[in-house]
Protein backbone atom coordinates (compact mmCIF):
# COMPACT_ATOMS: atom_id res chain seq x y z
CA UNK A 1 0.00 0.00 0.00
CA UNK A 2 1.09 3.52 -0.66
CA UNK A 3 0.07 5.12 2.63
CA UNK A 4 2.66 7.18 4.46
CA UNK A 5 4.57 5.46 7.26
CA UNK A 6 3.75 6.78 10.74
CA UNK A 7 6.11 4.55 12.68
CA UNK A 8 9.20 2.64 11.63
CA UNK A 9 11.58 0.62 13.73
CA UNK A 10 15.05 -0.48 12.76
CA UNK A 11 16.74 -3.36 14.60
CA UNK A 12 14.63 -2.50 17.65
CA UNK A 13 15.70 -4.47 20.72
CA UNK A 14 13.03 -4.67 23.41
CA UNK A 15 13.17 -5.85 27.01
CA UNK A 16 13.83 -4.63 30.52
CA UNK A 17 16.83 -3.05 32.18
CA UNK A 18 17.63 -4.45 35.61
CA UNK A 19 19.51 -1.53 37.11
CA UNK A 20 23.25 -2.20 37.00
CA UNK A 21 22.84 -5.96 36.64
CA UNK A 22 22.24 -5.88 32.93
CA UNK A 23 19.10 -6.43 30.95
CA UNK A 24 16.51 -9.02 29.97
CA UNK A 25 16.24 -9.07 26.18
CA UNK A 26 12.73 -10.03 25.09
CA UNK A 27 13.44 -9.56 21.39
CA UNK A 28 16.81 -8.56 19.91
CA UNK A 29 15.90 -6.96 16.61
CA UNK A 30 12.57 -5.91 15.13
CA UNK A 31 12.06 -4.10 11.83
CA UNK A 32 8.50 -2.89 11.76
CA UNK A 33 6.33 -0.35 10.01
CA UNK A 34 2.92 1.18 10.69
CA UNK A 35 1.18 3.23 8.00
CA UNK A 36 -1.56 5.80 8.31
CA UNK A 37 -5.15 4.71 7.76
CA UNK A 38 -4.41 1.09 8.62
CA UNK A 39 -5.39 -1.26 11.43
CA UNK A 40 -2.60 -3.59 12.51
CA UNK A 41 -3.13 -6.51 14.90
CA UNK A 42 -0.26 -7.95 16.93
CA UNK A 43 -0.72 -11.67 17.61
CA UNK A 44 1.47 -13.99 19.59
CA UNK A 45 1.39 -16.59 22.32
CA UNK A 46 1.70 -15.67 25.97
CA UNK A 47 5.31 -14.85 26.78
CA UNK A 48 6.14 -13.85 23.20
CA UNK A 49 6.67 -10.29 24.40
CA UNK A 50 3.58 -8.58 22.96
CA UNK A 51 3.13 -6.39 26.02
CA UNK A 52 6.82 -5.48 26.10
CA UNK A 53 6.64 -4.40 22.45
CA UNK A 54 3.42 -2.46 23.01
CA UNK A 55 4.83 -0.69 26.08
CA UNK A 56 8.03 0.12 24.21
CA UNK A 57 6.15 1.63 21.27
CA UNK A 58 3.92 3.54 23.75
CA UNK A 59 7.06 5.13 25.17
CA UNK A 60 6.45 3.60 28.60
CA UNK A 61 9.69 1.59 28.62
CA UNK A 62 12.82 2.62 26.73
CA UNK A 63 14.08 0.47 23.84
CA UNK A 64 17.26 -1.51 24.59
CA UNK A 65 18.76 -0.94 21.16
CA UNK A 66 17.89 0.06 17.63
CA UNK A 67 15.78 2.96 16.49
CA UNK A 68 12.16 4.04 16.48
CA UNK A 69 11.16 6.71 13.98
CA UNK A 70 7.82 8.41 14.55
CA UNK A 71 6.36 10.65 11.82
CA UNK A 72 9.81 10.98 10.30
CA UNK A 73 11.56 11.95 13.54
CA UNK A 74 13.57 9.81 15.95
CA UNK A 75 11.73 8.89 19.13
CA UNK A 76 14.65 10.15 21.24
CA UNK A 77 14.09 13.67 19.89
CA UNK A 78 10.48 13.82 21.09
CA UNK A 79 9.66 15.82 24.20
CA UNK A 80 7.15 14.16 26.48
CA UNK A 81 4.39 16.60 25.57
CA UNK A 82 5.09 16.28 21.84
CA UNK A 83 4.99 12.48 22.16
CA UNK A 84 1.66 12.70 24.01
CA UNK A 85 0.21 14.49 20.98
CA UNK A 86 1.56 11.83 18.60
CA UNK A 87 0.80 8.49 20.26
CA UNK A 88 -2.42 7.85 22.18
CA UNK A 89 -2.70 4.67 24.23
CA UNK A 90 -5.37 2.39 25.66
CA UNK A 91 -3.93 0.06 28.29
CA UNK A 92 -5.07 -2.77 30.52
CA UNK A 93 -3.86 -1.00 33.69
CA UNK A 94 -6.40 -0.79 36.52
CA UNK A 95 -7.67 2.77 36.96
CA UNK A 96 -9.58 4.72 39.62
CA UNK A 97 -11.69 6.45 37.00
CA UNK A 98 -15.06 5.16 38.30
CA UNK A 99 -15.89 8.46 39.97
CA UNK A 100 -15.57 10.70 36.94
CA UNK A 101 -18.00 10.95 34.05
CA UNK A 102 -17.35 9.64 30.56
CA UNK A 103 -17.08 13.21 29.28
CA UNK A 104 -14.53 14.08 32.00
CA UNK A 105 -12.52 10.97 31.10
CA UNK A 106 -12.49 11.82 27.40
CA UNK A 107 -11.63 15.43 28.27
CA UNK A 108 -8.48 14.14 30.03
CA UNK A 109 -7.35 13.26 26.50
CA UNK A 110 -7.10 17.01 25.90
CA UNK A 111 -4.45 17.28 28.64
CA UNK A 112 -1.54 17.59 26.17
CA UNK A 113 -3.35 20.41 24.38
CA UNK A 114 -4.52 22.51 27.34
CA UNK A 115 -2.74 24.90 29.68
CA UNK A 116 -1.55 24.70 33.26
CA UNK A 117 -5.01 24.40 34.82
CA UNK A 118 -6.40 22.14 32.10
CA UNK A 119 -9.19 24.56 31.21
CA UNK A 120 -10.98 23.46 28.02
CA UNK A 121 -11.67 25.90 25.20
CA UNK A 122 -14.43 25.76 22.58
CA UNK A 123 -12.23 23.74 20.23
CA UNK A 124 -11.44 21.22 22.99
CA UNK A 125 -15.15 20.69 23.67
CA UNK A 126 -15.69 20.10 19.94
CA UNK A 127 -12.93 17.50 19.81
CA UNK A 128 -14.33 15.74 22.91
CA UNK A 129 -17.84 15.67 21.42
CA UNK A 130 -16.51 14.35 18.14
CA UNK A 131 -14.54 11.60 19.91
CA UNK A 132 -17.64 10.61 21.91
CA UNK A 133 -19.69 10.48 18.69
CA UNK A 134 -17.01 8.59 16.82
CA UNK A 135 -16.97 5.64 19.23
CA UNK A 136 -20.75 5.74 19.64
CA UNK A 137 -20.88 6.57 23.33
CA UNK A 138 -22.20 10.13 23.22
CA UNK A 139 -25.46 9.01 24.90
CA UNK A 140 -23.43 7.96 27.97
CA UNK A 141 -21.39 11.17 28.19
CA UNK A 142 -22.92 12.18 31.54
CA UNK A 143 -22.70 8.68 33.09
CA UNK A 144 -20.02 7.76 35.58
CA UNK A 145 -17.34 5.47 34.20
CA UNK A 146 -18.25 3.03 37.01
CA UNK A 147 -21.74 2.60 35.54
CA UNK A 148 -20.53 1.48 32.11
CA UNK A 149 -20.38 -2.08 30.83
CA UNK A 150 -16.90 -3.43 30.01
CA UNK A 151 -17.46 -2.74 26.31
CA UNK A 152 -18.63 0.82 26.92
CA UNK A 153 -15.74 1.46 29.27
CA UNK A 154 -13.28 0.32 26.60
CA UNK A 155 -14.98 2.60 24.08
CA UNK A 156 -14.68 5.51 26.50
CA UNK A 157 -10.92 4.94 26.76
CA UNK A 158 -10.69 4.73 22.96
CA UNK A 159 -12.52 8.07 22.82
CA UNK A 160 -9.95 9.46 25.29
CA UNK A 161 -7.16 8.38 22.95
CA UNK A 162 -8.97 9.91 19.96
CA UNK A 163 -9.39 13.19 21.84
CA UNK A 164 -5.59 13.35 22.10
CA UNK A 165 -5.69 13.84 18.29
CA UNK A 166 -2.76 11.51 17.74
CA UNK A 167 -1.90 10.10 14.31
CA UNK A 168 -1.02 6.79 16.02
CA UNK A 169 -3.23 4.97 18.54
CA UNK A 170 -1.86 1.89 20.32
CA UNK A 171 -4.14 -0.45 22.30
CA UNK A 172 -3.01 -3.27 24.59
CA UNK A 173 -5.53 -6.12 24.35
CA UNK A 174 -8.59 -3.88 23.94
CA UNK A 175 -10.90 -6.87 23.56
CA UNK A 176 -9.56 -9.00 26.42
CA UNK A 177 -12.47 -8.63 28.84
CA UNK A 178 -15.27 -8.21 26.32
CA UNK A 179 -18.08 -10.58 25.37
CA UNK A 180 -18.22 -11.80 21.78
CA UNK A 181 -20.49 -9.08 20.38
CA UNK A 182 -18.58 -6.25 22.06
CA UNK A 183 -15.38 -7.80 20.76
CA UNK A 184 -16.51 -7.77 17.15
CA UNK A 185 -18.03 -4.31 17.67
CA UNK A 186 -14.75 -2.94 19.05
CA UNK A 187 -12.72 -4.34 16.14
CA UNK A 188 -15.16 -2.97 13.57
CA UNK A 189 -15.06 0.40 15.34
CA UNK A 190 -11.25 0.54 15.34
CA UNK A 191 -11.11 -0.45 11.66
CA UNK A 192 -13.62 2.25 10.78
CA UNK A 193 -11.69 4.89 12.74
CA UNK A 194 -8.42 3.88 11.06
CA UNK A 195 -9.94 4.06 7.60
CA UNK A 196 -12.22 7.09 7.99
CA UNK A 197 -10.00 9.28 10.13
CA UNK A 198 -6.75 8.19 8.49
CA UNK A 199 -5.15 7.17 11.78
CA UNK A 200 -2.74 4.35 12.25
CA UNK A 201 -3.99 1.87 14.85
CA UNK A 202 -1.98 -0.95 16.44
CA UNK A 203 -3.52 -3.38 18.87
CA UNK A 204 -2.44 -6.59 20.53
CA UNK A 205 -4.98 -9.39 20.80
CA UNK A 206 -5.48 -13.10 21.27
CA UNK A 207 -8.58 -13.02 19.10
CA UNK A 208 -7.34 -14.61 15.86
CA UNK A 209 -10.80 -14.68 14.21
CA UNK A 210 -11.43 -10.99 14.64
CA UNK A 211 -7.86 -10.13 13.64
CA UNK A 212 -8.23 -12.10 10.37
CA UNK A 213 -11.57 -10.43 9.67
CA UNK A 214 -10.75 -6.82 10.47
CA UNK A 215 -6.99 -6.17 10.34
CA UNK A 216 -5.26 -4.60 7.35
CA UNK A 217 -2.00 -6.04 8.65
CA UNK A 218 -1.00 -8.76 11.04
CA UNK A 219 2.17 -8.95 13.09
CA UNK A 220 2.94 -12.47 14.29
CA UNK A 221 5.39 -12.25 17.19
CA UNK A 222 7.41 -15.15 18.46
CA UNK A 223 10.35 -15.19 20.81
CA UNK A 224 13.62 -14.59 18.93
CA UNK A 225 12.42 -15.36 15.39
CA UNK A 226 11.78 -12.32 13.17
CA UNK A 227 8.30 -10.78 13.25
CA UNK A 228 6.06 -12.10 10.46
CA UNK A 229 4.25 -9.11 8.92
CA UNK A 230 1.69 -8.91 6.15
CA UNK A 231 -1.97 -8.66 5.33
CA UNK A 232 -4.16 -11.56 6.51
CA UNK A 233 -4.55 -12.86 2.96
CA UNK A 234 -0.79 -12.71 2.26
CA UNK A 235 0.01 -14.59 5.46
CA UNK A 236 -2.68 -17.16 4.70
CA UNK A 237 -1.42 -17.73 1.19
CA UNK A 238 2.26 -18.06 1.95
CA UNK A 239 1.56 -20.49 4.80
CA UNK A 240 2.98 -18.22 7.52
CA UNK A 241 -0.15 -18.43 9.66
CA UNK A 242 -0.18 -22.19 9.35
CA UNK A 243 3.47 -22.48 10.38
CA UNK A 244 3.08 -19.96 13.18
CA UNK A 245 0.12 -21.55 14.94
CA UNK A 246 0.85 -25.22 14.24
CA UNK A 247 2.55 -26.39 17.42
CA UNK A 248 1.95 -28.51 20.53
CA UNK A 249 -0.55 -30.82 18.82
CA UNK A 250 -2.49 -27.97 17.24
CA UNK A 251 -2.75 -27.00 13.59
CA UNK A 252 -3.96 -23.89 11.82
CA UNK A 253 -6.44 -24.90 9.15
CA UNK A 254 -6.17 -22.43 6.27
CA UNK A 255 -9.53 -23.44 4.80
CA UNK A 256 -11.53 -22.98 8.00
CA UNK A 257 -9.28 -20.11 9.08
CA UNK A 258 -9.03 -21.42 12.62
CA UNK A 259 -6.83 -23.45 14.92
CA UNK A 260 -7.85 -27.08 15.36
CA UNK A 261 -6.53 -29.98 17.40
CA UNK A 262 -4.82 -32.65 15.39
Amino acid sequence: MGNAAILETCALGIGYRLGKKGEVVVHPGLDLQLREGELTCLLGLNGAGKSTLIRTLCGLIPPLSGEITLCGKALAEYSQSEFSRTVGVVLTDPTSAGGITVRELVALGRYPHTGFFGRLGAHDYEVVDKALESVGIAHKAASFVADLSDGERQKAFVAKALAQECPLVILDEPTAFLDVTSRVGMMALLRRIAHEEGRSILLSTHDLDAALDFADNLWLQDKSSPMLCGSPSELLEDGSLERFFSRDGLRFDAQQRRIIAI
Partner: protein, 335 residues
Amino acid sequence: MSARTRTTAITVTAIAVILLFAANLVFGAVRIPIRDVLGILAGSFDGRPSWSEIVLHSRLPQAVTALLAGASLACAGLMLQTLFHNPLAGPSILGISDGANLGVAIVMIYFASTSYISSILAAFVGAAAILVVIIWFSRKLRNNVMLLIVGIMVGYLASSLISILNFRASADKVHQFVMWGMGDFSAVSVEKLPVYAAVVLAGLVLALLLTKPLNTLLLGESYASNLGVNVRRARLLILLCTGILTAATTAFCGPVSFIGLAVPHIARLLLGSSNHKALLPLTILSGAGIALLCNLITVLPGQGGVLPLSAVTPLVGAPVIIYVIVNRRNIQYFN
Protein backbone atom coordinates in the same frame (compact mmCIF):
# COMPACT_ATOMS: atom_id res chain seq x y z
CA MET B 1 -20.84 15.85 37.77
CA SER B 2 -23.24 18.63 37.01
CA ALA B 3 -22.21 22.18 37.72
CA ARG B 4 -25.25 22.49 39.98
CA THR B 5 -24.29 19.62 42.28
CA ARG B 6 -20.83 21.11 42.51
CA THR B 7 -22.06 24.60 43.39
CA THR B 8 -24.59 23.25 45.89
CA ALA B 9 -22.08 20.97 47.64
CA ILE B 10 -19.47 23.71 47.95
CA THR B 11 -21.97 26.37 49.08
CA VAL B 12 -23.61 24.15 51.70
CA THR B 13 -20.23 23.05 53.07
CA ALA B 14 -18.94 26.62 53.19
CA ILE B 15 -22.03 27.70 55.18
CA ALA B 16 -21.56 24.73 57.54
CA VAL B 17 -17.92 25.74 58.10
CA ILE B 18 -18.96 29.32 58.95
CA LEU B 19 -21.64 28.11 61.39
CA LEU B 20 -19.24 25.63 63.03
CA PHE B 21 -16.59 28.32 63.31
CA ALA B 22 -19.10 30.62 65.05
CA ALA B 23 -20.20 27.77 67.33
CA ASN B 24 -16.56 27.22 68.32
CA LEU B 25 -16.40 30.84 69.50
CA VAL B 26 -19.68 30.66 71.40
CA PHE B 27 -19.37 27.28 73.13
CA GLY B 28 -16.58 26.23 75.45
CA ALA B 29 -15.72 24.99 78.88
CA VAL B 30 -16.75 28.39 80.29
CA ARG B 31 -20.28 29.54 79.55
CA ILE B 32 -20.33 32.99 77.94
CA PRO B 33 -23.64 34.40 76.57
CA ILE B 34 -23.78 34.78 72.78
CA ARG B 35 -24.51 38.51 73.12
CA ASP B 36 -21.28 38.98 75.07
CA VAL B 37 -19.26 36.88 72.60
CA LEU B 38 -20.53 39.13 69.81
CA GLY B 39 -19.69 42.18 71.93
CA ILE B 40 -16.16 40.94 72.55
CA LEU B 41 -15.62 40.30 68.83
CA ALA B 42 -17.01 43.76 67.98
CA GLY B 43 -14.82 45.34 70.65
CA SER B 44 -17.80 46.82 72.50
CA PHE B 45 -17.71 44.48 75.51
CA ASP B 46 -16.68 46.02 78.82
CA GLY B 47 -17.60 43.23 81.21
CA ARG B 48 -15.25 40.65 82.70
CA PRO B 49 -11.74 40.86 81.16
CA SER B 50 -11.32 37.11 81.59
CA TRP B 51 -14.15 36.53 79.09
CA SER B 52 -12.45 38.71 76.48
CA GLU B 53 -9.25 36.82 77.13
CA ILE B 54 -11.00 33.46 76.65
CA VAL B 55 -12.74 34.42 73.41
CA LEU B 56 -9.91 36.36 71.75
CA HIS B 57 -6.86 34.45 72.98
CA SER B 58 -8.18 30.94 73.43
CA ARG B 59 -11.31 30.21 71.39
CA LEU B 60 -10.51 32.33 68.34
CA PRO B 61 -6.97 31.00 67.72
CA GLN B 62 -8.18 27.49 68.57
CA ALA B 63 -10.98 27.71 65.99
CA VAL B 64 -8.58 29.07 63.35
CA THR B 65 -6.11 26.29 64.18
CA ALA B 66 -8.83 23.63 63.89
CA LEU B 67 -9.88 25.10 60.54
CA LEU B 68 -6.33 25.06 59.18
CA ALA B 69 -5.42 21.67 60.65
CA GLY B 70 -8.56 20.01 59.27
CA ALA B 71 -8.05 21.57 55.85
CA SER B 72 -4.40 20.55 55.66
CA LEU B 73 -4.85 16.95 56.87
CA ALA B 74 -7.84 16.34 54.59
CA CYS B 75 -6.03 17.83 51.62
CA ALA B 76 -2.96 15.66 52.31
CA GLY B 77 -5.19 12.59 52.66
CA LEU B 78 -6.90 13.16 49.32
CA MET B 79 -3.62 13.63 47.47
CA LEU B 80 -2.19 10.45 48.99
CA GLN B 81 -5.33 8.43 48.17
CA THR B 82 -5.16 9.56 44.55
CA LEU B 83 -1.41 9.06 44.26
CA PHE B 84 -1.46 5.56 45.73
CA HIS B 85 -4.77 4.45 44.19
CA ASN B 86 -5.61 3.42 47.68
CA PRO B 87 -8.72 4.63 49.50
CA LEU B 88 -7.13 3.76 52.84
CA ALA B 89 -4.05 5.94 52.40
CA GLY B 90 -3.71 8.87 54.76
CA PRO B 91 -1.06 11.27 56.05
CA SER B 92 -0.24 9.00 58.97
CA ILE B 93 0.10 5.95 56.74
CA LEU B 94 3.36 7.05 55.11
CA GLY B 95 4.92 7.42 58.52
CA ILE B 96 5.12 11.21 58.28
CA SER B 97 3.17 11.75 61.51
CA ASP B 98 5.17 8.98 63.16
CA GLY B 99 8.33 10.80 62.15
CA ALA B 100 7.04 13.97 63.77
CA ASN B 101 6.06 11.93 66.82
CA LEU B 102 9.53 10.42 67.06
CA GLY B 103 11.15 13.84 66.83
CA VAL B 104 9.05 15.09 69.74
CA ALA B 105 9.66 11.92 71.75
CA ILE B 106 13.41 12.36 71.37
CA VAL B 107 13.49 15.95 72.63
CA MET B 108 10.89 15.40 75.37
CA ILE B 109 12.18 12.11 76.73
CA TYR B 110 15.81 11.81 75.72
CA PHE B 111 16.87 15.45 76.02
CA ALA B 112 14.24 16.12 78.70
CA SER B 113 13.42 19.38 76.99
CA THR B 114 10.23 21.12 78.07
CA SER B 115 10.48 24.01 75.61
CA TYR B 116 7.56 24.30 73.27
CA ILE B 117 9.68 25.56 70.39
CA SER B 118 12.01 22.58 70.60
CA SER B 119 9.06 20.17 70.28
CA ILE B 120 7.85 21.96 67.17
CA LEU B 121 11.29 21.96 65.59
CA ALA B 122 11.76 18.31 66.48
CA ALA B 123 8.44 17.40 64.89
CA PHE B 124 9.44 19.24 61.74
CA VAL B 125 12.83 17.53 61.62
CA GLY B 126 11.30 14.10 62.29
CA ALA B 127 8.61 14.50 59.64
CA ALA B 128 11.10 15.86 57.13
CA ALA B 129 13.51 12.98 57.80
CA ILE B 130 10.77 10.43 57.10
CA LEU B 131 9.76 12.42 54.03
CA VAL B 132 13.31 12.29 52.70
CA VAL B 133 13.36 8.52 53.26
CA ILE B 134 10.00 8.16 51.45
CA ILE B 135 11.10 10.36 48.55
CA TRP B 136 14.31 8.33 48.28
CA PHE B 137 12.29 5.12 48.13
CA SER B 138 9.87 6.69 45.65
CA ARG B 139 12.81 7.10 43.27
CA LYS B 140 13.81 3.47 43.79
CA LEU B 141 10.36 1.90 43.71
CA ARG B 142 8.22 2.61 40.70
CA ASN B 143 5.33 0.68 42.23
CA ASN B 144 3.12 2.78 44.48
CA VAL B 145 1.73 -0.11 46.52
CA MET B 146 5.26 -1.13 47.45
CA LEU B 147 6.02 2.48 48.41
CA LEU B 148 2.90 2.52 50.60
CA ILE B 149 4.08 -0.64 52.36
CA VAL B 150 7.54 0.89 52.87
CA GLY B 151 5.79 3.94 54.37
CA ILE B 152 3.87 1.75 56.80
CA MET B 153 7.07 -0.11 57.77
CA VAL B 154 8.95 3.16 58.34
CA GLY B 155 6.06 4.26 60.53
CA TYR B 156 6.32 1.06 62.56
CA LEU B 157 10.06 1.59 62.97
CA ALA B 158 9.44 5.11 64.29
CA SER B 159 6.75 3.86 66.70
CA SER B 160 9.00 1.12 67.93
CA LEU B 161 11.82 3.61 68.63
CA ILE B 162 9.29 5.71 70.56
CA SER B 163 8.33 2.66 72.65
CA ILE B 164 11.99 2.00 73.42
CA LEU B 165 12.43 5.64 74.48
CA ASN B 166 9.32 5.38 76.65
CA PHE B 167 10.65 2.19 78.24
CA ARG B 168 13.78 3.99 79.38
CA ALA B 169 12.08 7.18 80.45
CA SER B 170 10.76 8.32 83.79
CA ALA B 171 7.02 8.30 84.38
CA ASP B 172 6.51 12.08 84.30
CA LYS B 173 8.32 12.49 80.98
CA VAL B 174 6.23 9.71 79.48
CA HIS B 175 3.13 11.43 80.80
CA GLN B 176 4.15 14.72 79.19
CA PHE B 177 4.73 12.98 75.86
CA VAL B 178 1.46 11.05 76.07
CA MET B 179 -0.41 14.32 76.65
CA TRP B 180 1.16 15.81 73.50
CA GLY B 181 0.22 12.61 71.67
CA MET B 182 -3.46 13.28 72.40
CA GLY B 183 -3.49 15.97 69.73
CA ASP B 184 -4.82 19.40 70.53
CA PHE B 185 -5.97 22.44 68.58
CA SER B 186 -5.44 24.72 71.59
CA ALA B 187 -1.66 24.57 71.58
CA VAL B 188 -1.20 27.22 68.88
CA SER B 189 -1.12 30.65 70.51
CA VAL B 190 -2.01 33.93 68.83
CA GLU B 191 1.70 34.67 68.38
CA LYS B 192 2.46 31.33 66.70
CA LEU B 193 -0.69 31.27 64.59
CA PRO B 194 0.60 33.43 61.68
CA VAL B 195 3.57 31.09 61.17
CA TYR B 196 1.35 28.02 61.16
CA ALA B 197 -1.22 29.69 58.89
CA ALA B 198 1.43 30.76 56.38
CA VAL B 199 2.88 27.24 56.08
CA VAL B 200 -0.57 25.64 55.73
CA LEU B 201 -1.76 28.18 53.16
CA ALA B 202 1.41 27.66 51.10
CA GLY B 203 0.78 23.90 51.18
CA LEU B 204 -2.88 24.29 50.19
CA VAL B 205 -2.03 26.61 47.28
CA LEU B 206 0.58 24.12 46.03
CA ALA B 207 -2.06 21.36 46.25
CA LEU B 208 -4.55 23.38 44.20
CA LEU B 209 -1.86 23.95 41.57
CA LEU B 210 -1.52 20.16 41.27
CA THR B 211 -5.18 19.65 40.24
CA LYS B 212 -4.43 18.78 36.61
CA PRO B 213 -1.82 16.06 37.23
CA LEU B 214 -3.94 14.67 40.11
CA ASN B 215 -6.84 14.13 37.71
CA THR B 216 -4.68 12.27 35.21
CA LEU B 217 -3.28 10.11 38.02
CA LEU B 218 -6.82 8.73 38.47
CA LEU B 219 -6.04 6.76 35.30
CA GLY B 220 -2.77 5.39 36.70
CA GLU B 221 0.81 6.40 36.06
CA SER B 222 1.13 4.90 32.56
CA TYR B 223 -1.90 6.79 31.26
CA ALA B 224 -0.77 9.96 33.03
CA SER B 225 2.65 9.65 31.43
CA ASN B 226 1.07 9.15 27.99
CA LEU B 227 -0.94 12.33 28.56
CA GLY B 228 2.30 14.26 28.92
CA VAL B 229 2.56 14.35 32.73
CA ASN B 230 6.08 14.14 34.11
CA VAL B 231 4.99 11.46 36.56
CA ARG B 232 8.17 11.42 38.59
CA ARG B 233 8.05 15.17 39.16
CA ALA B 234 4.31 15.15 39.87
CA ARG B 235 4.80 12.36 42.42
CA LEU B 236 7.63 14.26 44.09
CA LEU B 237 5.60 17.48 44.28
CA ILE B 238 2.57 15.65 45.69
CA LEU B 239 4.70 13.95 48.36
CA LEU B 240 6.42 17.24 49.19
CA CYS B 241 3.08 19.02 49.51
CA THR B 242 1.53 16.32 51.73
CA GLY B 243 4.74 16.30 53.76
CA ILE B 244 4.61 20.05 54.41
CA LEU B 245 0.92 19.95 55.36
CA THR B 246 1.26 16.92 57.64
CA ALA B 247 4.52 17.98 59.28
CA ALA B 248 3.29 21.48 60.05
CA THR B 249 0.01 20.27 61.48
CA THR B 250 1.56 17.46 63.53
CA ALA B 251 4.23 19.82 64.81
CA PHE B 252 1.73 22.44 65.97
CA CYS B 253 -1.21 20.25 67.03
CA GLY B 254 0.23 16.82 67.80
CA PRO B 255 -0.92 13.73 65.92
CA VAL B 256 -4.54 14.07 64.80
CA SER B 257 -5.92 10.82 63.44
CA PHE B 258 -8.71 9.97 61.01
CA ILE B 259 -9.32 13.42 59.52
CA GLY B 260 -6.88 12.83 56.67
CA LEU B 261 -8.29 9.37 56.05
CA ALA B 262 -12.04 9.98 56.37
CA VAL B 263 -12.66 13.49 55.05
CA PRO B 264 -11.76 12.79 51.38
CA HIS B 265 -14.44 10.08 51.48
CA ILE B 266 -16.99 12.44 53.00
CA ALA B 267 -16.22 14.98 50.26
CA ARG B 268 -16.47 12.38 47.48
CA LEU B 269 -19.79 11.14 48.83
CA LEU B 270 -21.12 14.72 49.07
CA LEU B 271 -19.96 15.58 45.57
CA GLY B 272 -20.50 12.22 43.89
CA SER B 273 -17.37 12.79 41.84
CA SER B 274 -13.61 12.22 41.94
CA ASN B 275 -12.79 15.18 39.67
CA HIS B 276 -10.19 17.10 41.68
CA LYS B 277 -11.28 20.43 40.21
CA ALA B 278 -14.21 20.38 42.62
CA LEU B 279 -13.15 17.56 44.94
CA LEU B 280 -9.95 19.19 46.18
CA PRO B 281 -11.59 22.50 47.23
CA LEU B 282 -14.51 20.60 48.76
CA THR B 283 -12.15 18.27 50.66
CA ILE B 284 -10.29 21.29 52.07
CA LEU B 285 -13.60 22.87 53.15
CA SER B 286 -14.96 19.62 54.60
CA GLY B 287 -11.72 19.01 56.48
CA ALA B 288 -12.03 22.45 58.07
CA GLY B 289 -15.67 21.72 58.95
CA ILE B 290 -15.03 18.26 60.42
CA ALA B 291 -12.10 19.52 62.52
CA LEU B 292 -14.26 22.38 63.86
CA LEU B 293 -17.00 19.85 64.64
CA CYS B 294 -14.53 17.59 66.48
CA ASN B 295 -13.21 20.56 68.44
CA LEU B 296 -16.77 21.50 69.38
CA ILE B 297 -17.45 17.96 70.62
CA THR B 298 -14.40 18.13 72.92
CA VAL B 299 -16.07 20.91 74.95
CA LEU B 300 -19.43 19.11 75.24
CA PRO B 301 -18.86 18.18 78.90
CA GLY B 302 -19.16 21.94 79.60
CA GLN B 303 -17.81 22.90 83.02
CA GLY B 304 -16.73 19.27 83.48
CA GLY B 305 -13.60 19.70 81.37
CA VAL B 306 -12.43 19.05 77.84
CA LEU B 307 -12.36 15.67 76.06
CA PRO B 308 -9.07 14.72 74.39
CA LEU B 309 -9.18 15.37 70.65
CA SER B 310 -7.74 11.94 69.89
CA ALA B 311 -10.86 10.41 71.49
CA VAL B 312 -13.19 12.46 69.29
CA THR B 313 -11.72 12.26 65.76
CA PRO B 314 -12.08 8.45 65.52
CA LEU B 315 -15.71 8.79 66.70
CA VAL B 316 -16.39 10.91 63.63
CA GLY B 317 -13.94 9.25 61.22
CA ALA B 318 -14.14 5.52 61.88
CA PRO B 319 -17.88 5.14 61.09
CA VAL B 320 -17.32 6.93 57.78
CA ILE B 321 -14.56 4.48 56.80
CA ILE B 322 -16.69 1.49 57.87
CA TYR B 323 -19.66 2.84 55.88
CA VAL B 324 -17.49 3.37 52.81
CA ILE B 325 -15.95 -0.12 52.99
CA VAL B 326 -19.30 -1.87 53.53
CA ASN B 327 -20.93 0.02 50.66
CA ARG B 328 -17.96 0.01 48.31
CA ARG B 329 -19.83 -1.90 45.59
CA ASN B 330 -22.43 0.85 45.37
CA ILE B 331 -19.95 3.72 45.49
CA GLN B 332 -18.84 4.89 42.07
CA TYR B 333 -15.31 5.90 42.86
CA PHE B 334 -14.40 2.34 43.89
CA ASN B 335 -15.47 0.82 40.58
